[in-house]
Amino acid sequence: MAGILPAAEKVLKKRIGWYAAAIALMSLLLVAQAVPSVVNGENIQGSVPWLPSLGIELSFYGDGLSIMFGLIVSGVGILIMAYSNEYMSKREDLSRYYRQLLMFMGSMLGMVFSSNIIQLFIFWELTSITSFMLIGYWRNRPMSVYGATKSLLITASGGIFMLAGFLVLNIITGTFDIATVLQNESMIETIKGHEFFLFALVLILIGAAAKSAQGPFYIWLPNAMEAPTPVSAFLHSATMVKAGIYLVARIHPLFSGTDAWFILVSGLGIITMLAAGFLAFRQTDIKGILAYSTISQLAYMMAMYGYTTYQYPGIGVAAATFHLLNHATFKACLFLVAGIVAHETATRDITKMGGLRKDMPVTFIIGSIAALAMAGVPPLNGFLSKEMFYESSLEMGHLLGGPLEYLIPAAAVLGGVFTFAYSIRFIDGIFLGKRRSEHLPKHMHEPSLIMLVPPAFLAILVILIGLFPSVAVQYIIEPAASGILLQEVHLHVSLWHGFTAALMMTIITFIAGIALYTKYDAIAAWQDRMNARYPWFSINYAYDRIVNGAQGKSSAFAAVMQPGPVKPYLVALLLLFLVLGAIPAMLVATTLVPADLNFNVPPYEGILLGLIVLAALGTAILRKYLHAILAVSAVGYLISLVFIYLQAPDLAMTQILVETLFTIIFLLVILKIPQTFRENLTRSVLARDLLISSAVGITVLVLLLNATQGIASPFESISYYFIENSVPLARGHNMVNVILVDFRGYDTLGEIVVICLAGLGVYNLIKSRSDSK
């Protein structure tokens, strides 16, 4: 399984879209290859140690759920990549586009096959980052940048909550490995009974909800529609937004069957479903309709995954899983159709469209099939999973009893009504009726085959799954549901069940949906009035307030913390040194000055010392930049002499080289700054500076005097470890270097990252200053 990732990543450099599609096909085949064994109930596992000291491994785990996601991700991926060949203009930066798409696909696959939760988190955030890059693909459009920033802020910060939740989970179980937990029943029992149960659940759910645009976090998804349409189809309908659903399904066995799970997950799902369904109805941007409908469809799944009781922990699981697959097919198809329509009409405003069926009959048919599937019309696949949704809602309501017995199914039907209404509006608004506007180009026509085939393929899938659900159910849904419920699941899905209650509910849905659609104008007007009257009554408003406020606040904070001149920083650093160094040293000190001091200094040491002192004084006293800089370098060179004298050639060499470079850079810098030097010091400032510097000086002196006597090193020195082990373990004789690259390689890696960042920072600071002149 681990082979998938490098395979997808190796080829990021290549340019052509077909090539990208081939990669996706390859991953699809790799995933599909695992299907038979998973159907037989075997899961795939493999791992590589990564940070063994923390128990973190790079480990992969494939069960039915992972495989289903793998199939969706790579399958839809192929179609998207192929479609993009025609959709993206040849003048675009295609290399970047496909690179990011493939990177996204790789991280998504990595996420669903992750067994280690820390690794899962890393891939999770990678999907956020790649999605950020893709949403902001058109870098110079402010709305793209706004949408990208918003999605990153919301999904990535949600991810951090999730990480905290994972850590809590780790405290409870003592492992980072999901597969281990899933295969260990007593561990699951421990989680459900643990006092941190709710804490972990809420934290993880925040991450899942942020990713899947549930609850208050939904606001990023509509703005994410600034991305190129294939990206929206891929990320914001079929895959990335489902990461949250995936997570809910993944942790389902660990948390489900409890009140908290039902209330939080189903509650969130139902509320989001209703709100987003209502909002979707009103949108005028065709991608906006699809965005809100995605939110509400994802909320269906949330609601269904939440349907659990103590006795029946998996009431909605199969239905949700089925709906997940169906949604991926019809929604990706709808997005692609929307892309075609926008491409041909050069607008995304539904109020300007209408009557397009004559110009684009094939697109019309494909789009209608997908939209009707979303609406839940038989014999399409959306109908089947919607029936299952109603059934599970009824069952859940029945098991709970009380007023909930009617409320839950009623909410489900209401959600269905909204879905039906906006689906119909999508078809009617775009394709039916008459042309509403003269703004559309006169000669619209069907797009080329490259753009038609991917959505057509999806539409055919929609019909096939609807007519012959058994194949999909047997090979995909049953293993996936078994993976979630940790037991064999067998489903019987067919188009005709007889006149069941669920069928009644569907009929009610259709009638009410049509009724709602006829009232469209009144509802739209009401929503407009509400928006005009209460502009603050929206989460977007709050988000903008917070983000814009944060900029002001942080600059105010920065103005206090970073006033500009070097001196305050220096003072702060030195004072900190006093507090952290001098005080603890005094606390453990027995004698401040050792008794057996040796003042018998040989003459050359004395001369060297004298020169250093002289040069140091020079830096402090000299009044011109040039002189002061030369004095500083003199100090540096003299110290390197000390190193040579003490037989540390490494240090001496480093010191000389660094000193040389910095002298040159200093000299370059002084050419650019005003030559006035030394602000006029008042006596009190001078006294303060003197006090601080002499305190620091004395502290260092005392510490050095005691360096070999105990107070400065109350702990045993670690240098012996390196002396003993550098040759046997790392086979290097230069201990400094061995420490840098072998023993503390990770530190060094961090350090060179810092060096790079510092280099970039300095360069840009200087650049921006000389540009602004």
């Binding site: 270097n737 060179i752 650049k767």
Partner: protein, 138 residues
């Protein structure tokens, strides 16, 4: 700004210094040296050129994009870490091999040397990047 002597000498010296910096880099595991010092040494060589000839001259022999250098270095250093994982070891685990090369005799091949080369490139890249920033538009 500088005399002919400086120019001539630095022209002769720079290749030697660069060679020396490379040798420092590879000697680093057993003798004084290593990626950091080697990198600084390289940067010093370039800065010697700068002092003698100015930035335009350096530009004329190598149109530098030092940011690419440190990007490559960073990539190399991190890949050595992941490279070990490909073979089933933990992150940054080093590999050791003794190889007999025709001219050089027995040579130690260490995967950490790759890491050190990464450090070397990063140091050169970022130092000279800063250098370029400060020395430009003169």
């Amino acid at each position: 700004m500088t005399t002919l002597i400086t120019k001539t000498v630095s022209k002769a010296c720079v290749p030697i210094i660069i060679l020396f910096s490379v040798s420092l880099l590879f000697a680093g595991h057993d003798l004084p040296g290593g990626g950091f010092i080697g990198g600084v040494m390289f940067a010093s060589a370039i800065s010697l050129l700068y002092v003698a000839f100015g930035l335009k001259y350096i530009d004329s022999i190598y149109s530098y994009q030092w940011d690419k250098w440190f990007g490559t270095g960073l990539l190399l250093a991190s890949l050595t870490g992941f490279g070990a994982m490909l073979f089933g070891y933990n992150f940054l685990r080093s590999l050791y091999m003794l190889v007999n090369l025709p001219l050089a005799g027995d040579v130690k091949l260490l995967s950490t040397t790759l890491f050190d080369i990464g450090v070397y490139l990063v140091v050169i890249g970022s130092l000279l990047y800063v250098f370029k920033g400060t020395g430009e538009d003169e």
